[in-house]
């Protein structure tokens, strides 16, 4: 999926890291939007190993939980409620940067 370009002005791009890939993003976007734009639809796996991804986009369904590197540890956060920032590093599998 791509961003609308015509008639839209965005802040200067920043870079976030998703499963080791450097992905462009704009301040003000949610992590979920950035992942969808980058084609990273598989946000977590359920206990059977099946892929799960963005569903409600409003913090209710918990299907978009990803791992975010924070203060030297991996923490679970909902991608749809997380705003991107420069240097944000996330993983869709625990412990894999």
């Amino acid at each position: 999926m791509s961003r609308i370009a015509d008639g839209v002005t965005r802040p200067a791009p920043i870079t976030v890291e998703i499963d080791g890939a450097m992905v462009p993003a704009h301040p003000g976007e949610t992590l979920a939007a950035v992942m969808i734009a980058a084609g990273a639809y598989r946000m977590r796996d359920d206990r059977s190993g099946a892929p799960r991804g963005l569903l409600c986009n409003m913090g209710t369904c918990s299907e978009c939980f990803v791992w975010i590197a924070m203060d030297g540890a991996w923490r679970r956060r909902r991608a749809c409620l997380t705003l991107v920032s420069e240097g944000l590093c996330i993983a869709t599998q625990e412990g894999q940067p």
Binding site: R47, S62, F65, A73, R75, R76, R77
Partner: protein, 395 residues
């Protein structure tokens, strides 16, 4: 058509009672206004707590609170046999429970509690902080003692009522969802109910009616002119993300509101009786049909108590918090059985209804089948509040 038993409410209690009555050949009919397990039976945190609860030890609590131990002992046996009786796995874990102490005052309270429980035949044991940490190494170093009961635990509140409903249907009970009670009144020697289902209004007659309606019970009774002293208890619960299994036990706290357990999937469920806030109707009365709102300060306080005794929780993330409503009786003990001012009308509500639900449903069914209140639950009889209906004119 006249039913032998009409059950109002498809929660744990109603569905389990339906199963017992159906097996006895009474072919009960159960109506549920929403869906099976939609109320407190599916909203609670799933603790199987058989030690005397902290709420019974608070200043001002009724001295009768310890009497609940008699019920708890029976409830232990009830839970232990459920998977076999219902012939399916029910996520019931009875590996033990710890009620923690963090201070000298807590320890003194625990010691007197254990002594009282032992007198009443409940084999709790007082552990030192070190002994508690032998069981759960991640307990905080300042935890200075615990009361241990080997058969406490937890179960999955999402599946139990459904299992009872399934078994009840298989034994001949009729269970209807989206079927709402509009009116209930005496009719000769029985009861007549007006029921709305899918826009259709019908009436049904029944010899016995069970109000298995949780926090709605007092209001339904009030519409019939009956006073049942049950008061709203809107609560909140939370669950964290998954972590490797490390806690097979139920954790409670003798001095603070806390319950904690780890699910099969590894999630930590945290609760303990922290209040949520009911939504209000136009006249200011609580809206019994709407989910209560979270109270952020109470959520923070609940999590702080949990992380204080189990510091590793600070590394976890909350997935979800939710609310639910139950009710508590005037003396905190369950109110069970026939309402003296309304022969043929049975209730069961008012405290610990997940832990005690399967047992009380069996007892309620027995009181209808045997036409007498089982001796085991005489202490919890609705008759102890009969004075509240002294001025009710039978309708």
């Amino acid at each position: 058509m006249t039913h032998e038993v009409l059950i109002i409410g498809g929660g744990l209690l109603g569905c389990a009672a339906a199963w017992h009555l159906a097996r006895a050949g009474l072919a009960p009919r159960l109506i549920e206004a929403r869906g099976i397990n939609a109320g407190a039976s599916g909203q609670n945190a799933g603790s199987l707590h058989f030690q005397i609860e902290r709420r019974f030890l608070e200043p001002g609590a009724s001295g009768q609170g310890a009497d609940i131990v008699r019920l708890n002992r029976l409830a232990i046996e009830e839970w232990a046999g459920l998977e076999e009786q219902l012939s399916r796995p029910l996520d019931i874990h009875m590996h033990g429970g710890l009620m923690l102490a963090e201070s000298e005052a807590d320890l003194a309270l625990l010691a007197s509690k254990v002594a009282r429980e032992n007198e009443l035949g409940l084999p709790t044991q007082l552990l030192s902080g070190a002994e508690a940490r032998d069981l759960v190494p991640r307990l905080a170093p300042h935890v200075c003692g615990a009361a241990w009961l080997a058969r406490e635990g937890h179960a999955n509140p999402r599946i139990l009522a459904d299992a009872f409903a399934h078994a009840a249907r298989a034994s001949g009970a009729v269970i209807e969802t989206d079927s709402r009670l509009l009116d209930l009144h005496r009719d000769g020697h029985g009861w007549q109910a007006t029921i709305e289902q899918a826009g259709q209004i019908s009436t049904a007659r029944a010899r016995h009616v069970i109000l298995a309606t949780g926090h709605w019970t007092a209001r339904i009774a009030a519409r019939m002119g009956l006073n049942i002293p049950l008061y709203l208890a809107p609560l909140m619960m939370s669950v964290t993300d998954r972590t490797a299994p490390f806690l097979p036990y139920l954790i409670q706290h003798v001095g603070k509101r806390l319950s904690m357990k780890q699910t099969d999937d590894g999630n930590m469920v945290i609760g303990g009786g922290w209040a949520s806030a009911p939504q209000r109707m136009a006249d200011g009365m609580p809206d019994l049909d709407a989910p209560p709102h979270l109270v952020p300060d109470n959520l923070r306080a609940n999590l702080a108590v949990a992380a204080s005794v189990l510091p590793c929780l600070r590394g976890r993330s909350l997935i979800r918090s939710w609310t639910g409503m139950t009710c508590i009786s005037a003396d905190q003990l369950p109110v069970v059985g026939q309402v003296p001012a309304a022969p043929g009308l049975y209730i069961a509500a008012g405290g610990s209804m997940f832990t005690l639900g399967p047992l009380l449903a069996r007892m309620l069914a027995r009181s209808i089948i045997e036409r007498a209140m089982p001796e085991e639950i005489a202490l919890f009889s609705a008759a102890r509040f009969a004075h509240l209906n002294a001025f009710v004119v039978p309708s």
